[in-house]
Amino acid sequence: MQCPKCRGNMRTYERNGVHIDQCDGCRGIFLDYGELETLTRMESQWSQQQHAAPPPPPPPAHGAPGWGAPAPHYGGHYGHHRQRSWVGMLFST
């Protein structure tokens, strides 16, 4: 069979019951009648399985509390002013 696009030679593969013709030249793929529907069905089955599966366990939430800062403020971009009040707080009642 010849590729309808580049006239190259097309090779037939079977993947999970679906016939696929692929061009050796341009790597284009040709599907027979009904094979696109087969692929769509398989895709929707796969995604249903994903939804039906129990959600993955939450990661251990011991790292930070729910009211914690979404982004850290440490890091060196606050300059000496930050340093002064931060260090003061570390050492005072």
């Binding site: 011991h62 009211w67 914690g68 850290p72 707080m89 005072s92």
Partner: protein
């Protein structure tokens, strides 16, 4: 009575116990510290009550706290110009110029050891400081600025933490005011200092400051996790040995955040300046506490 008279008399006391010339040591505004040779002389905050301090001095001098809390030179409490004055061995504090090198793990282990001392092994102690200080700091606010209103809302959103601290801790020995200024090195070892808030309470409050700093995003996670891991490895009982420590830390750390934010806005107002970045971070954290607490309330109860 002038401050000079107080300092002069403290210097004389220091010379008697420690020898050497007296020099004042910078500290918080309501406390005065004079060093003389091998001792420091401390004038406690004006209005401090003698009876609870006597009990705390007896505990600090008790062998059960050897190597954990600095032992006073004498249990005696002197009165100098209406101030209570105590005498302690001098030690080397944590270097404020190098907070990265601070002995976080040593602090954690000392707290774990203190919390593990059976209350019955110590002379009877008053309640630990900590929870009561939050309300005292917040009452200084007037609500006159948007930031103050956020702090007041966060304070109002918290459940009764004084009552919760009484329940959760079941009266374990606790320092009551721990931060990096509450350790000195003496005889080659770090020990806790400052018995002013030592007492029985919920030990989780001793972890509340670093927990609050970490939650606010101010303290590097690496430092917090080192501190917490050292506390747990030393058998610290304020949090479960494994699993989520925040069930125990949430409320004390939120209360401490409110206290730190209240102190920050009060300081900024006193100095007539805007909040700096660190102080603004505390206000933002108060805002998140309000959201967190209102989300807690909206969960339907069974």
């Amino acid at each position: 009575m002038s401050d000079e008279d107080l300092i002069e008399e403290m210097g004389r006391i220091g010379a008697r116990y420690g020898g050497g010339p007296a020099t004042t040591v910078p500290t918080r505004p309501d406390v005065a510290i004079v060093r003389a040779g091998s001792v420091v002389v401390k004038a406690h905050a004006p209005g401090a009550a003698r009876e609870p301090l006597e009990r705390r001095m007896r505990a600090a001098a008790h062998p059960a706290l050897d190597g954990i809390l600095l032992r006073p030179v004498t249990e005696e409490i002197m009165t100098v110009h209406d101030r209570l004055v105590t005498v302690w061995p001098a030690g080397t504090p944590v270097d404020p110029d190098d907070p990265g090198a601070a002995p976080w793990e040593d602090g954690a282990r000392l707290l774990a050891r203190l919390h593990a001392v059976p209350a019955g092994a110590l002379p009877a102690l008053p309640p630990a400081g900590g929870p009561a200080r939050v309300g005292r700091t917040v009452t200084r606010l007037t609500g006159g600025s948007a930031a103050e209103q956020v702090v007041l809302r966060a304070f109002a959103s918290l459940p009764d933490f004084e009552e919760a601290a009484g329940r959760a801790g079941a009266g374990l020995p606790a320092h009551g005011d721990w931060h990096l200024g509450q350790m000195v090195r003496t005889g080659g070892r770090w020990v806790l200092i400052d018995a002013d808030d030592l007492g029985l309470g919920d030990p989780a409050w001793d972890l509340a400051r670093p927990a609050a700093w970490f939650a606010a995003g101010l303290l590097e996670p690496e430092v917090w996790h080192r501190f917490l891991a050292a506390y747990r490895a030393a058998g610290g009982n304020a949090v479960p040995a494994q699993g989520d420590p925040w069930e125990r830390l949430n409320l004390p750390a939120q209360a401490l955040t409110v206290q730190l934010a209240a102190a920050a806005v009060a300081a900024a107002r006193r100095e007539g300046r805007a909040l700096d970045e660190v102080e603004s971070v505390l206000i933002d954290t108060c805002q998140r506490i309000v959201q967190f607490r209102s989300a807690c309330h909206s969960v339907p109860t069974q």
